[in-house]
Assembly symmetry: C2
Homo-oligomer: 210 residues x 2
DNA sequence: TAGATTGTTAATCGATTAACAATC
DNA sequence: TAGATTGTTAATCGATTAACAATC
């Protein structure tokens, strides 16, 4: 059993990946932990410590080869494999996600979008539109890795539990309520409302302290 | 100068608030740190420690009065005051945000949405639609607390810097690149792409460890 | 070789957890 | 009063930072 990677490191991993992608796109072939740390507002120690947990991908006296480090992190993250996703909830957020083409970059394919009412959902290239009644059958016949929950708050938990019961192992939740799963099911909550509240708190804090 | 509140505590504050709102809506007038901790997947010690940092709002032997605690946290967060916001970028995300009525709950009013091309933006009740050319003038004549950045990645930083230069102190960033500001300007990044990558990493991790 | 910069261990710092007196 | 549960201090744990030998 390998060492557990802390939540803080997991938080930073995609940032390294994003930055490395930027560097390789700009044909920069070499980078130091110091440069990385400055770009991401971390410390150089932290960067080296983080990468060291996965084995260390640099060379003493030289730094890191951007292409090699990028590909190593890509593999660590699991982005080298394709992942199939469906969206449940065809409201504004659900449709925005269905339309966003950027997920393709991470090898994530949005296969279908489900709602109780499908007529209002504008067709999107390559994304099938189904009534949510068809969800059970769909999940039995298709290998889906990720379910994106963009239904209203009240039915978010029930909806997520349903897809989990049908075998989905990863939940990406956009409903304004946090979901928790155990037993081999992972979940990421994008809670915009909480983020907005934190922003207000921090800005309020400034007013008082300055 | 009062004690600095750690990022971890700030992360949890909105969750307390959300849960307390739920309790008061359900007419539950009393709650213990143990019950709170179980609902939010924390420890009771942590809950008490967190609340203690702001002074402690409970009673020994009794617990916390939900209404009183909710209102106390609301005030700590700054949600008792109105905040005016504008959206820059009228793409799918920008429009989804403009249409979302839930922000009103946190006393945040979306006043206007700006884009380089306004004809495609569907009118939303109470949200004015402007060409981005009008941004300077608008910000000079209106007190705006929060700028919501939902433009494409490439121009996110420039756009944010512009509104900061025009006096906005809080940035809520939805572009898939992290923004950092100093000097009394706060920022919250909602980076969906990073969240998705973390989800994939965690689900991948399961496959390997089990 | 001299300079740079990592890998890796050790020291420090801060957050979480534990404990219990206070008190409702 | 007895039981419950907070406020608050102390102990523990884990994450960050510092340091430097290894080595390119």
């Amino acid at each position: 059993m390998k060492k557990q990677i802390s939540e803080n490191v997991i938080q930073r991993l995609p940032k390294y990946y994003r930055y490395l992608k930027e560097l390789t796109e700009n044909k920069i072939s070499r980078v130091s932990s110091k440069t990385i740390s400055e770009a991401l507002h971390l410390t150089a120690s932290q960067v080296r410590q983080d990468l060291y947990q996965f084995g260390g991908f640099g060379q003493q006296g030289y730094g890191y080869d951007t292409e090699y480090l990028k590909n190593s992190i890509k593999e660590i993250l699991g982005l080298d494999k394709e992942h199939n996703a469906i969206i449940i909830g065809g409201g504004r957020i659900g449709q925005a996600l269905a339309n966003y083409t950027g997920f393709y970059q991470e090898n994530v394919l949005i296969k279908a979008i489900f709602d109780i009412e499908t007529t209002h959902i504008k067709g999107v290239e390559g994304v099938e539109v189904y009534n949510v009644d068809f969800l059970d059958e769909y999940l039995k016949n298709n290998k889906i890795d990720i379910a994106i929950i963009s239904v209203q708050k009240e039915i978010a938990e029930k909806t997520a539990q349903k897809v989990v019961d049908l075998g989905v192992k990863a939940i990406w939740n956009f409903a304004p309520t946090d979901l928790y799963f155990g037993g081999g099911v992972v979940c990421e909550n994008i809670n915009m409302s909480e983020s907005l509240i934190r922003l207000i708190y921090k800005s309020r804090d400034l007013e008082k302290d300055d």
